[in-house]
């Protein structure tokens, strides 16, 4: 009988120990699971660098405008008084159209959130094709001269602007090579001018552009 009771006590003790061990192991498992979850939550999200065809790097000194760059980032921007005229992602930011000896540079973007374009027409630049843009390197065009016409289009209406003063500076025009093969041209520069909008004088200031010109946006006809 004593043996039987002792045996029962032993069995209960073993049972208790078993339960205790189970508890310990479940506690350990729980800690390990928490650690694993913690580790997973801490594991790095791989950083990505967004890729876009127009690379708009904001200019901290001129809010709303892209930085001045020379790498074919396909952006432009300028202040029109306090408003911003800037390239977007949707429209092709530039088309170059050569008619006879007139070089037309059409910049398309947004002004006050609405579509707008400015066309600069420079007379006396009979470029045959986009590689010839390199001849414009470091050239400054006086926009006050009668060899320059500027047309503003906004809200489906176009007006030829009377220029009070201004200059258009092709600071750097380059050949762009991909895998050592000539692909297109890059034109980069700055512009600023004063004109009239509805008989009110306005200043277009801090203008800058960095644009790739190739088969798709150069026309000669």
């Amino acid at each position: 009988m004593f043996n039987s009771i002792s045996g029962k006590i032993n069995l209960s003790f073993i049972h208790l120990k078993h339960i205790e061990m189970k508890r310990y192991f479940s506690a350990t498992s729980l800690i390990l699971i928490i650690l694993a979850i913690f580790m997973i939550s801490c594991s790095s999200e791989q950083d990505t660098f967004s890729l876009k065809k127009s690379i708009f790097i904001a200019d901290p000194e001129n809010p709303g405008l892209p930085i001045y760059s020379e790498w074919g980032y396909n952006t432009f921007g300028a202040y029109i008084d306090r408003n911003v005229f800037v390239s977007g992602d949707n429209d092709l930011p530039i088309k170059i159209i050569v008619n006879s000896d007139t070089l037309n540079i059409l910049l398309k973007g947004t002004m006050d959130g609405k579509f707008a374009s400015i066309k600069f027409s420079f007379i006396g630049y009979p470029l045959a094709d986009y590689p010839d843009l390199k001849t414009l390197n470091d050239s400054i065009i006086n926009m006050k001269s009668n060899k320059c016409i500027v047309v503003l289009t906004r809200e489906n209406s176009s007006e030829t602007l009377k220029i009070i003063e201004g200059k258009f500076h092709f600071k750097r025009t380059q050949d762009l090579y991909v895998d050592k093969v000539y692909t297109k041209s890059i034109i980069s520069g700055v512009f600023s001018f004063k004109t009239f909008f509805d008989k009110e004088p306005v200043a277009i200031s801090n203008g800058r552009f960095d644009l790739g010109i190739g088969y798709e946006n150069f026309y000669n006809y």
């Binding site: 650690l35 950083d47 074919g72």
Partner: protein
């Protein structure tokens, strides 16, 4: 001067521990393997862009992107000395670390090409880009870790511990590979890397803290598993491809008693 002070204090601390501990210190040797997942960001010295074209293609977040990745694997042999019935342990030794980092394009590749453009030359009136599938770098370091381990509680044969440690490594070698779209560009790989003008740091140092568990009996073989809490690189430029700051990871080791 500062280093001398730290060294002197460390030695004094070690002797104090040895003299005041009730039980004699125990020596063991750890053979350790670990892996660290690093939180990297693109090193902007690599002038990368998607295309030199002017057509728009996708404005959603699913558009292509360059992904950066970095992983450190390490292998160490470390003698460990423990005090106060294994409640405190110091270890040091030799650790080999391999740091792998890479750049590759991810995203909606069915919509768009699976490569990116790297601008590598902008001299004179030329700007040159190369089309690249990926850039990968591997660097090997041999270093000395110094770890302090505290075991606040034990359950059965499990010792739960917190460990913090510093590591200082020296570069053995480093290799950067560029996978070009146009294989004929491979001949320019070295000059492109030179033009970027970055070299991996000759030193590698990191500070890590981890939570871990040891399984095993005293004076017998023990097994350690630990998870790194967010830890930090002390040195910069251990990869020329990515910038690093924080890492997490794991370490597992076998601990051999030395009698």
């Amino acid at each position: 001067m500062q280093l001398k002070k730290v060294f002197f204090v460390s030695i004094m601390l070690l002797f104090s521990l040895l003299s005041f501990s009730e039980n004699p210190p125990k020596l063991s040797v750890l053979v350790e393997f670990g892996g660290n997942e690093v939180d990297p960001s693109l090193n902007e010295s690599w002038n990368i862009r998607q295309d030199v074209g002017t057509y728009s293609f996708d404005y959603s977040s699913s558009s292509n992107a360059v992904m950066t990745d970095m992983y450190v694997t390490n292998f160490a042999v470390k003698p460990e000395i423990s005090f106060f019935k294994n409640k405190l342990a110091l270890s040091s030794g030799l650790r080999f670390s391999n740091i792998k980092s890479d750049l590759s394009v991810v995203g909606n590749s069915s919509d768009y090409s699976n490569f990116f453009y790297l601008r590598y030359n902008t001299t004179g009136l030329n700007t040159e880009y190369a089309r690249i599938n990926s850039i990968a770098e591997s660097s090997n370091y041999l270093g000395v870790p110094f770890d302090v381990k505290v075991v606040p509680f034990s359950i059965l044969s499990l010792d739960f511990y917190i460990k913090t440690g510093l590591e200082l490594g020296f570069k053995l070698n480093s290799n950067t590979k560029i996978d070009f779209v146009n294989e004929s560009m491979s001949q320019y790989a070295q000059s492109i890397i030179s033009d970027v003008g970055l070299t991996t740091n000759n030193l590698y140092s990191a500070w890590s803290t981890s939570l871990g568990v040891t399984y095993g009996q005293n004076n017998k073989l023990k097994y350690n598993l630990e998870f790194l809490l967010p830890s930090f690189f002390i040195t910069k430029n251990n990869s020329t491809i990515v910038n690093t700051d924080m890492f997490t990871g794991f370490k597992c080791s076998i601990q051999f008693p030395v009698k």
